[in-house]
């Protein structure tokens, strides 16, 4: 306690001596207050205030409404199931990648298969599901000849969300399994255990914190996803984010949407608390010494290795099939009805859809540098500087990232629809939403990178008389450039693919590709939707490749791939 007070005091005096630091802190706090705290407070106000007086009327109305209760129950059920199946699938992939001794080419194949869902709009697999299993689906209708097959409901939503989100679990679990001390497993093996027993009594227990973390990440992702249920859940399986969306766009009921999204906030916040205070403390720190070479002998039995590879391959094939189907659907007149070759869908999106493409690229292009800059500034300040409210800044900067997108979108809509600050209908509101929602990955990357760089390097600069601004520019910045580009890459990818928050923020002036895809799907013009999706995946792939190549050239300690940041 005493230490905290002293350091805060010292930080205060340092702030006064360092105008550049002071200015940066003030500006960042102003931005965080405006784009994180203010919308959240407005959302809470809409939920709990009625005519300026505190009221539980709105919340109670939801709780009493059996439809909404069902939606809440469905949301939780779906999120839990997606968490379970996605974590299991992610573990399968991570374990195979770490233990099956795959040749490089095979590992690349697994990585590619998991990369596709990560860089696509979240509902891409949902579209492929319809193409495959819908009433006119390739499998259901063409192959099996089932007429009037129904693809809508819990199983297909679960399947689609699992395929979409399990790469997050894979990216979370792979480093954990890869860094698990192989000596510990060898030890158990040498004490007479069978391989299965080693897995059961050592490997699995040591992976439990990682598994829990992966489960919570997937739970949160599913809870926030409204596009997949909107397409696939159907009328019999309403979920909360979809209800909130329909409440606002269908009934123009802002308060209802606010209350519904607030209900969503409770489990989301619970997940956040669990992650921060339970899971993060249970990671086992193994004493590092000479890391023994991982031995093929005690790893996986030959038959188990084959089974693992076969399972992974099966999943990879399903994913590749989905995307191949998407490409196919974009170049035929109507999948399931008329399989004649055509470029028409691309012509449509490049004419009628050109505005959405241009708007999206402008917004993503504007958000990129801002997001990268914001990420390294905040990351640098919280990792390196001492100033009052440092920890608060770290927490606040993570809020929009931790909240389900639906909540953020509705909060922005409520906050910036009326004076004093009217931003709805502008590009700024969309850019701000992306920057503050997706830069936190870059913030974390910056912090992680800075933790690997000895502070004495910066102290040496200051010892030579440089101000903190000069030190940052001349010494720190070159060292954290990789985090800048990684952070920028994430903002770009998400600007191209995300929909949950920004669907509330688009307007006639500014629209987005993802929103157009969703509109296309609801209008049942699936060809253009497929063409749009293919285009998005291609653009994102091109940009990722460019940034990755750049990062390789700037290779520095702790450099990370852009895609590996999409997981956490």
């Amino acid at each position: 306690m005493a230490r905290a007070v002293r350091s805060a005091g010292a930080g205060g005096s340092r702030l006064r001596q360092d105008p550049a630091l002071l200015a940066t802190v003030v500006v960042l706090w102003a931005l965080l207050a405006l784009f994180v705290l203010y919308p959240l407070l407005m959302l809470l106000g809409r939920t709990f205030l009625e005519d300026g007086r505190p009221s539980l009327h709105g919340v109670l109305g939801i709780v009493r409404d059996p439809n909404h209760l069902t939606a809440l129950g469905n949301s939780l059920l779906l999120a839990a199931l997606v968490g379970l199946t996605g974590t299991a699938l992610g573990f399968l992939f991570a374990y195979t990648a770490a233990r099956a001794g795959l040749p490089r080419g095979w590992r690349t194949l697994l990585d590619a298969a998991t990369l596709l869902p990560l860089v696509s709009p979240p509902f891409t697999t949902a579209i492929a599901m319809i193409f495959s299993f819908g009433p006119r689906g390739l499998v259901t209708y063409q192959l099996l000849g089932i007429k009037g097959a129904t693809v809508y409901g819990l199983p297909s939503t679960l399947f689609s969300e699992t395929v979409t989100y399990f790469p997050i679990a894979y990216l979370t679990l792979r480093p954990i399994l890869a860094t698990l001390d192989s000596n510990v497993e060898d030890m158990a093996f040498s004490l007479g255990s069978s391989r299965w027993r080693v897995f059961r009594t050592v490997t699995l227990p040591l992976a439990i914190p990682g598994l829990a973390n992966a489960f919570l990440l997937l739970f949160a992702a599913s809870l926030a996803d409204f596009a997949t249920p909107l397409i696939l859940a159907g009328n019999d399986f309403p979920v909360l984010p979809t209800q909130a969306y329909l409440q606002i766009t269908g009934l123009f009921d802002l308060q209802g949407g606010a209350v519904l999204s607030f209900v969503l906030l409770v489990p989301a916040f619970g997940v956040y608390l669990l992650q921060r205070y339970w899971v993060s403390r249970r990671y086992y720190v193994t004493i590092t010494g000479k890391a023994g070479a991982r031995t093929a002998i005690s790893g996986v039995a030959p038959w188990a290795r084959l089974a693992l590879i076969a399972l992974c391959l099966l999943v990879a094939i399903v994913i590749c099939y989905f995307y191949a189907l998407l490409v196919y659907a974009s170049v035929v007149v109507a999948l399931g009805a008329n399989h004649a070759w055509t470029w028409r869908h691309y012509q449509v999106i490049l004419t009628e859809g050109m505005k959405a493409i241009r708007d999206t690229l402008v917004i993503a292009g504007a958000g990129m540098p801002l997001g990268g800059l914001y990420a390294i500034l905040v990351g640098y300040l919280v990792a390196r500087k001492v100033f009052p409210g440092r920890q608060a800044m770290e927490v606040v900067s993570m809020v929009n990232y931790a909240l389900p997108g639906t909540i953020v979108g509705i909060a922005y809509l409520i906050a910036f629809n009326d004076p004093p600050l009217v931003l709805t209908g502008t590009a700024l509101i969309i850019v701000a939403c992306y920057v503050f929602r997706y830069s936190p990955t870059g913030v974390r990357a910056t912090v992680a990178l800075l933790h690997q760089i000895d502070p004495s390097i910066e102290e040496a600069s200051q010892g030579l008389g440089a101000s903190s601004g000069t030190t940052f520019r001349r010494v720190t910045l070159p060292l954290i450039v990789p985090a800048f580009f990684a952070g920028l890459g994430v903002v770009f990818i998400r600007s191209m693919t995300a929909i949950s928050a920004t669907i509330f923020l688009v307007s006639i002036n500014w629209t987005l590709i993802t929103v157009r895809i969703l509109e296309n799907i609801t209008e049942l013009s699936l060809g253009p939707a497929a063409a749009f999706s293919v285009l998005v995946v291609l653009i994102v792939f091109a940009v990722i490749s460019a940034i990755s190549a750049l990062l390789r050239r700037l290779r520095a300690p702790g450099t990370m791939a852009v895609t590996s940041l999409l997981g956490g």
Binding site: V184, D186, M187, F189, S190, R197, T286, G289, A291, T295
Partner: protein, 364 residues
């Protein structure tokens, strides 16, 4: 359990190196460890000692050669079928299990009755001095305590052989000396056949019955610490164990009484070990710094059998004084424990150097 020896018969392990292509980590390693003996594999990093140990354990499959425990050929058995106790450098404790369960792990694998497990764990924790720590988790223990848990876990299953892979390198210097004494005492008491890997020659001498020195994948010399120290078979071993001077000389003649040599222009006679080299051959005398004596130089010719040298430096280290003395082309390291009349000798002065006449090894 009566101890079984270990026999390695032309054990080889290759791996492919990015630049060098096929490289032998171990090549035709043949070795006998007697029942109840502690043998140390000693060598610089990358010499193949750990690979050899891991092949004995069964963590690594040998490309050629066989491993025997007693009369049994265990080459085809996996580590979990060999009944070994292994102690890793980083201890490899199960971080999620308390001390008791860590130690009990091997017994539970063997499905021993609960009462027997409790009894055996209690006994072995007593042996390593860790009673009362049963419920603690590994990260709550100090480095030395973790080491003891690793030791207890390895010996509680009464393994046929005990294997140590640099077990002390994560401990600080003082604890290292203490723990090696404990390991040695425990091993003797239980008389388990043991192979111990280290790169620290002092540690090797302190714990071993015998030492096998390895270099570049092969065993270059095998013997007791005294053998290796006094009678190194090669320059590598001479340098690896202790400090050494290699003084060039020319053989003048060999007789039953020893070898006649010319060293730095002086004739000396040494009683050397091994077969004497032929007259005329150039050799190097293996001289340990503490076996060389220094005398103040007197005016005139040096007495027979003594060399004339110049002190280059003198370092006072408390109980001993270290000198560097130039003799001819060679710089000799000399350690003297009682300064005596040399107290006043300073750098730059001339001294008489007397070489030992007994037990000098000659390297060709």
């Amino acid at each position: 359990m009566d101890a079984a020896g270990i026999r390695l018969d032309r054990l080889s392990k290759r791996f492919s190196h990015r630049v060098k292509g096929e490289v032998y980590a171990a090549r035709d390693v043949s070795l006998r460890v007697r029942p109840g003996e502690l043998l140390t594999l000693l060598g610089p990093s990358g010499c193949g000692k750990t690979t050899t140990l891991r092949m004995i354990a069964g963590f690594e499959r040998a490309d050629a050669g066989r491993v025997f425990f007693g009369e049994q050929d265990v080459t085809g058995l996996l580590a979990n079928q060999r009944s070994i106790g292994f102690v890793f450098q980083n201890y490899a404790l199960f971080p999620h299990l308390p001390v008791f369960e860590n130690v009990a792990y091997g017994l539970r694998v063997k499905r021993q009755p609960e009462a027997e497990v409790a009894r055996a764990v209690h006994e072995v924790l007593g042996l390593v001095g860790l009673r009362g720590h049963e419920r603690q988790l590994p990260h709550q223990l100090s480095g030395g305590e973790q080491q003891r848990v690793a030791l207890a876990r390895a010996i509680v299953i009464r393994p046929r052989v005990l294997l140590f892979d640099e077990p002390l390198s994560n401990l600080d210097a003082k604890l290292r000396v203490h723990m090696r004494g404990e390991i040695r005492e425990l091993q003797k008491r239980l008389s388990i056949t043991t192979v111990y890997v280290t790169h620290d020659q002092e540690e090797a001498m302190a714990v071993s019955d015998r030492i096998a020195v390895m270099n570049q994948g092969t065993i270059v010399q095998e013997g007791t610490a005294e053998d290796l120290y006094h009678r190194p078979a090669s320059e590598f071993v001479a340098h690896f164990i202790g400090r050494v001077n290699l003084l060039p000389g020319r053989v003048l003649g060999a007789g039953p009484g020893g070898t006649e040599l010319e060293v730095a222009g002086t004739r000396i006679r040494v009683a050397s070990h091994g077969t004497g080299p032929d007259p005329g051959a150039t050799v190097r005398l293996v001289l340990r710094p503490e076996t060389v004596e220094l005398r103040p130089a007197a005016p005139g010719q040096p007495p027979p059998g003594m060399l004339l040298g110049t002190v280059v430096s003198r370092t006072f280290l408390g109980e001993k004084v270290e000198y560097q003395v130039r003799v001819g082309e060679t710089l000799l390291q000399v350690t003297r424990y009682s300064a005596g009349p040399l107290e006043s000798i300073q750098a730059g002065q001339a001294v008489l150097v007397q070489l030992p006449t007994d037990g000098v090894a000659l390297l060709s």
